[in-house]
């Protein structure tokens, strides 16, 4: 489940980066979203969460902000039904 979520995140984040004319480096589970290593900003991350909700029908943030900084941590939030 986490693997397929990881793949979905990589696909959608790649699309978001491509829309800005950027190329996403290969994602790892410990890739940090906003530490400058990825060509995305907070708006892009917010966009990713909206798209993930549209694709999965799940919104782990409905009850409020849950902590995550890495791709792996975000994938895990979707893996467990919120």
């Amino acid at each position: 489940m986490t693997d397929s979520m990881f793949a979905l995140i990589a696909e959608e984040l790649g699309r978001i980066a491509a829309d800005k004319g950027e190329v996403l480096p290969e994602l790892r589970a410990d890739s940090v979203f906003l530490d400058g290593g990825l060509p995305i900003d907070s708006l892009d991350l917010a966009t990713l969460l909206v798209v993930l909700e549209q694709r999965t029908g799940r919104d782990p943030f409905r009850a409020g902000l849950r902590h995550f900084t890495t791709v792996g941590e975000l994938a895990a939030l979707y893996a467990v039904p919120a």
């Binding site: 900003d41 708006l43 917010a46 969460l49 909206v50 798209v51 409020g64 849950r66």
Partner: protein
């Protein structure tokens, strides 16, 4: 014994509802609930209840939904109380002097006019259409409730209607409803800002029609009509006023002053010197004042205040877009984010359209761009026929 026909109903007035045709003698014989409270889900009952309340010189409450709220007590004399369209919250009630409502109707006798009712009969805009058709001695066609746009389009064709008043959202959907649309003589838009792309489509689709869009504020009701086929209104009206209403812009918001604006019951929106704050954001572009969304519709995206309606107008102007809705969604990262749902014209390449939509927003600050764009066959509309604008909460 038949009660005397009210003066606001021309003897030629006819109502078609559910394939049945009503004249005054049919309407007056309809049973009207006592007590002045009527669930106005039928146009026939609405007209009968208005006439009965006038005969009794009593107040009338036209309800749009069943449910609690039957404890209403009418003020003395003939007044009409309408409910706002809120379905979840308790509807707001606004009482109107019937003679003021009537006197705003300018409807010369026009027996050949065939009006389509696109609004609920007990909505303010619906009542205006009913009173207009009644005064003109026209035919008024009410589609069966719940039929949606397809039902309205079918009814419009079947009865070859000539006069239609509806929201811009109704018109965009009506234009995409398919089939031959009737040849209209009169087109009225109200309730939402009319964008230039829609006005141009209507002009092309109905070359013989008189097209006008109405500006109304929640508190003051209809204030003026624009008939030149252009979105917004002429900037010269900021100097000269329009239809007895003075207009000015303060802090980017349209303010109005005049007898019509005085009807406003609420005092909290007054500025202290008789001007009424409409809450509508406007921008002056050349010789034109254009609407740019609602002040209370601004949403905060990562610290930037953006107007979903303004972005929506950008999308509506893109060729191949039949309708579009830009909505804020809550985001744990940026507070809110704008998303768009777009109804493409038939046969449009979606990948190319997606590029064009993105291009139309490319010069906006990143926070104002719709970040997720979805395509759909239609947009959900509220019971008032407008795009459902969920507040940013």
């Amino acid at each position: 014994m038949t009660a005397e026909r009210p003066s606001w109903i021309h003897p030629g007035f006819r109502l078609v509802e559910d394939e049945a045709c009503f004249g005054w003698s049919d309407l007056v014989s309809l049973p009207v609930p006592a007590g002045g409270i009527v669930l106005a889900d039928r146009t026939s009952l609405t007209v009968a209840a208005l006439a009965a309340a006038q005969r009794a010189d009593a107040g009338l409450l036209l309800r749009r939904h069943a449910g609690p709220g039957e404890d209403w007590v009418p003020a003395p004399g003939f007044t009409v109380t309408l409910e706002s369209s809120g379905t979840t919250r308790t509807p707001k009630r606004i009482t109107h002097d019937f003679n003021i409502l009537r006197n705003r109707i300018r409807a010369p006798h026009d027996a050949g006019a065939r009006w389509l009712l696109t609004y609920e009969p007990a909505a303010f805009a619906g009542l205006q259409v009913i009173l207009t058709a009644a005064a003109a001695g026209a035919l008024l066609v009410a589609a069966a409730p719940g039929g949606g746009i397809a039902g309205l389009a079918r009814t419009a064709r079947q009865h070859a209607v000539t006069h239609v008043s509806g929201t811009p959202s109704f018109w965009r959907a009506f234009l995409t409803a398919g089939g031959d649309l009737p040849s209209l003589r009169s087109i009225t838009l109200g309730g939402e800002a009319a964008d230039q792309a829609l006005l141009d489509r209507l002009r092309r689709g109905f070359p013989a029609a008189r097209i006008r869009h109405i500006y109304a504020s929640t508190e003051a009701g209809a204030l003026f009509a624009v008939t030149d086929g252009q979105a917004g209104f002429p900037a010269a009206w900021l100097v000269d006023g329009r239809e007895g209403t003075a207009l000015r812009i303060r802090g980017g918001v349209l303010e109005v002053r005049g007898p019509r604006a005085m009807v406003a019951a609420s005092t909290e929106v007054r500025t202290g010197d008789g001007w009424l704050n409409t809450g509508d954001l406007v921008e002056v572009t050349g010789e034109r004042v254009l609407f740019a969304g609602r002040l209370d519709g601004l949403v905060n995206v990562g610290g930037v205040k953006v107007s979903p309606e303004r972005v929506e107008q950008r999308l509506l102007a893109v060729p191949g877009v039949a309708d579009a809705a830009v909505m804020p969604v809550a985001s744990p990262i940026t507070g809110f984010l704008l998303t768009a749902t777009v109804v493409p014209d038939a046969g449009v390449d979606e990948a190319a359209l997606r590029d064009a939509l993105r291009g139309a927003c490319a010069d906006l600050v990143p926070a104002a761009r719709p970040r997720a764009i979805r395509f759909a066959d239609s947009l959900p509309l509220s019971v008032a026929g407008k795009k459902s604008r969920k507040g940013p909460s």
